[in-house]
């Protein structure tokens, strides 16, 4: 039983394949990704998440973009757009953007730190199982990289009518996107679940 698993997409029962680090274990019937073992998965994910939290702090606190036209300058931080949407009576939209681009990514980074740092020293903090469960459920709802594309589109749109001045936060945000992508790629949830097993 311990050496078997079922594919989450087609339910095929199969032996847990032994896959070298850096390769992907695929379901033999439907080719779903079962898991991807990574070299130094814990260390890498931890390092990238720590970096991510620092970049995040810069990205939310410094000016993001400034718009300059005919002597007017309008500066915006990352949270300005959500505040303005709220003032315009679009509170549900403001909430949605805040959750997907501000809160969920932060919760994910902090949770991973809380779960993985103790795991590295062979410990489990209370609530780690529940937290990792939420991290995996919330993962598709963190959309910072989509926001990045939105920034690029807006910059091109606005470049016609005004000068756009990128701020400190924008550079931090760009780096953060890469760091988050790296963190997602280095996390091996299969390994984490084995270590977090509450029955052990």
């Amino acid at each position: 039983m311990k050496s078997l698993m079922a594919c989450h997409e087609c339910d095929l029962l199969q032996r847990i394949p032994s896959v070298p680090e850096g390769r992907v274990a695929l379901c033999s019937r439907c080719a779903a990704v079962l898991f991807r073992p990574k070299r130094n998965s814990l260390d890498r994910t931890l390092a990238l998440n720590l970096t991510g939290i620092l970049l995040y702090a810069v990205a939310v606190s410094f000016p993001f973009l400034a718009l300059k036209t005919q002597g007017f300058v309008r500066e915006a931080a990352l949270l300005t757009g959500m505040k303005v949407l709220y003032q315009q009576g679009m509170s549900s939209l403001a909430l949605l953007v805040t959750l997907t681009c501000i809160l969920f990514p932060l919760i994910e980074m902090l949770s991973l730190l809380y779960i993985l740092l103790p795991l590295k020293f062979g410990r489990k903090l209370p609530g780690a199982v529940r937290l990792f469960h939420s991290v995996q459920v919330l993962r598709p709802w963190g959309m910072m990289e989509v926001f990045m594309l939105g920034i690029l589109v807006s910059m091109v749109k606005l470049a016609k009518m005004a000068t756009i001045i990128p701020g400190t936060a924008l550079w931090a945000f760009v780096l953060l996107i890469f760091v988050l992508a790296g963190s997602a790629a280095s996390l091996d949830s299969h390994l984490v679940w084995e270590k977090l097993d509450r029955r052990a």
Binding site: M5, D11, L65, V84, M90, L93, L96, H133, V146, K160
Partner: protein, 208 residues
């Protein structure tokens, strides 16, 4: 002939969808002993739930495209833009690359996603055995690209933050934006509630 592939359900087991642990039936508790996720051999009411969310998304798709998503004013003139008129404006002003991004993310992807989900639902309900691997691939695709539809919402967020120059130029979010966000969220939930294992269940019946 090759023996029929054995699934967890046939073997009286449940594979946890979140952490991949195999749990024997009967199981006293309905949560995975390792990760705490709810255990189901198949997602309960997957088809009905997916249809409901999908139909709601289709209904919202109309106001999302007919109502303005931004209302911009400049020097006394007001202009309302829907998603489509925004794409056409970009195309006419020569920013075809950006027009393409918005067209794909805001019009093409949500529509394709709804068409694919309808196709998958109907094929499962008709107990079709047509190319299960490709249908699973289609399902994976809808899960993967759905989030990118949010890009237009984020563009609106950034525009309202920056274009606040009083009488000179101002941008406001229109009601279409809220409907459009609802479409994206509903289709994401619809894709999540669809259980791809239903596509494969038919294969075992045929092998019997």
């Amino acid at each position: 002939m090759k023996p029929a592939p054995l699934t967890a359900r046939e073997a009286n087991l449940i594979g946890c969808r979140l952490c991949h642990l195999l749990i024997p039936l009967p199981q006293e508790q309905d949560h995975c002993p390792r990760c705490g996720a709810r255990l189901h051999q198949r997602q309960p009411n997957s088809i009905a739930r997916c249809w409901a969310l999908l139909i709601a998304a289709m209904l919202f798709y109309l106001p999302a495209n007919l109502l303005p998503i931004t209302i911009s004013s400049a020097l006394g003139t007001r202009q309302s833009d829907t998603i489509l008129s925004g794409v056409l404006y970009l195309l006419n002003s020569g920013s075809w690359a950006i027009a393409l991004v918005i067209f794909v993310a805001s019009l093409f992807v949500p529509l394709m996603k709804m068409v694919i989900l309808v196709f998958l639902l109907v094929s499962v309900q008709l107990r079709s055995s047509w190319r299960p691997k490709d249908r699973t691939r289609l399902y994976r695709l809808t899960e993967l690209v759905g989030r990118w539809s949010m890009v237009d919402i984020y563009v609106v967020t950034i525009m309202v933050a920056l274009v606040r120059l009083g009488a000179l130029a101002n941008v406001e979010a229109g009601p279409g934006a809220a409907y459009f966000a609802a479409v994206v969220i509903l289709t994401m939930f619809a894709a999540e509630s669809f259980d791809p294992r239903l596509i494969w269940d038919r294969m075992e019946d045929r092998n019997e």
